[in-house]
Amino acid sequence: MSGYTESIFIFMGINIIMALSLYLPCSAGQISLAQAGFMAIGAYTSSLLTRDYGVPFYPALVLGGLLAAMTGVLVGFPAIRIKGIYLLLLTLAFGEMVRVFFLNFTPAGGASGMGGMELKTNLVNVYAIVGVLILFFSRLRGSRMGRALESMSDDEVAAEATGVNIVRAKLVAFGVGAFMAGLGGGLYAHYALYIDSSKFGFLLAVEFFVFVVFGGIEVFWGAIVGSVLLTIIPEAVRFLKDFRMIFFGMTIVILMIVRPQGLLDKQLVDGIARHARRLYIFRGVS
């Protein structure tokens, strides 16, 4: 596989991780535009650890994720009582504050950004993490926490009435989502080998948001499909040159008109699963 194709797949994998990190709070009914900020925390932390303190890559990656997770829980607290557009704006503001912080944080390069990390990210570790996340989300759906999140996103008051600990669920969703985003950031930093705060702004957060909604916000596979398609499409239509991004924008608008729930929804995914099972059973028989 050429280096070029490898780059595309690695960035795609990181996008998948980031989109999944956003999917988790969204599945609890909480739209977060802060994932880019958590990504920045993971990226800078892991980079400082590996570059300046000699910490090996995987522990640094996890530590970056943990710091991001702690920040996520911190953001989760005010988020408990805030909903809808207010939450969107709160997380947006938070993400931007993180960006401004790193812009002025000179030990990590400030405006000049930070480089000198070693290349540690590759197809294997990126997609291994993607695989682990897929397993996580598959298990989550059937679990108690998963059902709690689902009931919350339908009707929070009713969920609380049936005994769901809303506060804990929201904090977990934010914290774990932030952890994933932190991992994504660490992986990105050790592939691009240079990070600079301007990359982690609200435009990036919005990008992840588009991936999730485009692919379908009802199921976690939506986040994956959205990331895959929206990473590949701009590359595939390079021949359109100046009209590449216009085409990209149009794809988004058209899909929202034609299929506002996103590409995948619960119905579709369940339908596919049923068909797959049927095929499997048939094959077993014949």
């Binding site: 207010y86 503001a93 991004m245």
Partner: protein, 289 residues
């Protein structure tokens, strides 16, 4: 220096307020965060610029032309990308406007290039001095136009039939259509008015700051949201006061504190409001004014 900074803040704030009104109007009536509004503002500036370059017209003509052009653009956006999106899926319209903003920004870059452009220096600027304080005629234009437009909007919303229709639709769209209000028409008018305002803002800001570029819209999005929040979502009066307040905060943080953290202050305020008083200074919703 303090009073000069006060004036600076007032002028800057007035320009912000003009754009913010559009955001808040659309949110108040349609429950939509119109991501592409910043791009409408940007294209309004370009339309005004092209008018001046091609026909050598005056500012007033450019202003009116930009308002018409931007208004039409807004109608087109509404028609093409908003009307047919199923509103039951709350996020779909929002994402659709994100797609539109990508298209419009690329369109701007393709047609106008990536450089900053400015209005030709044919416009006479008079500088008024009061002691050590200084105000330019352009700034007064902005303040004046902003106040005039805001008054007009206020009157439309509170004194006309259309305004009543808008407020009822803002409160409950289903009830409104049951009452015989043409909600589709209200939606179109909302887009028209907000976009026209944005177009005017684009020309005025282009005149003062000489920094018309396809990217000027993106910078406005965050500010627009902050101001919306400050003033109360959907509250037009709040948007005006909020805009001026934000301008003041930014100016004073530069004048007296560290300018690198200027943006940080805006976001800090946003967070404080969200935690302490999410409904904003004046409360939300058009009908609560």
């Amino acid at each position: 220096m303090f009073f000069q900074q006060l004036i600076n803040g007032l002028m800057l704030g007035a320009t912000y307020a003009l754009v913010a009104i559009g955001y808040t109007l659309i949110f108040g009536i349609l429950n939509l965060l119109h991501f592409a509004h910043g791009e409408v503002f940007m294209l309004g500036a370009f339309i005004g610029l092209q008018l001046v370059l091609w026909t050598n017209c005056s500012i007033a003509v450019a202003l009116v032309g930009a308002m018409i052009g931007a208004g039409l653009l807004g109608l087109m956006i509404e028609r093409v990308s908003f009307r047919h999106v199923d509103k039951r899926y709350h996020l779909a319209p929002l994402i659709s406007t994100i797609g539109v903003s990508i298209i419009l920004q690329e369109f701007g870059v393709t047609i106008f290039g990536g450089d900053q452009l400015s209005f030709p220096e044919t416009i006479q600027v008079v500088v008024y001095r009061f002691g050590s304080i200084q105000v330019t005629s352009l700034h007064l234009w902005i303040l004046g136009t902003a106040l005039a437009l805001m008054t007009v909007i206020h009157l439309v919303i509170h004194r006309t039939k259309i305004g009543i229709a808008m407020r009822v639709t803002a409160e409950n769209a289903t009830t409104a259509s049951l009452m015989g209000i043409n909600t589709d028409g209200v939606v179109s008018i909302t887009f028209l008015i907000s976009s026209a305002l944005a177009g005017a803002a684009g020309v005025l800001i282009g005149l003062v700051y000489h920094a018309i570029s396809p990217f000027m819209g993106t910078a406005m999005v965050l500010k627009g949201f902050t101001i919306m929040l400050l003033g109360g979502l959907g509250n037009v009066k709040g948007a005006m006061v909020g805009g001026i307040l934000l301008g003041m905060v930014e100016v004073f943080s530069v004048g007296y504190l560290a300018s690198s953290y200027k943006d940080g202050f805006s976001f800090g305020i946003m967070i404080l409001i969200l935690i302490a008083r999410p409904t904003g200074l004046f409360g939300t919703r058009l009908h609560e004014e």
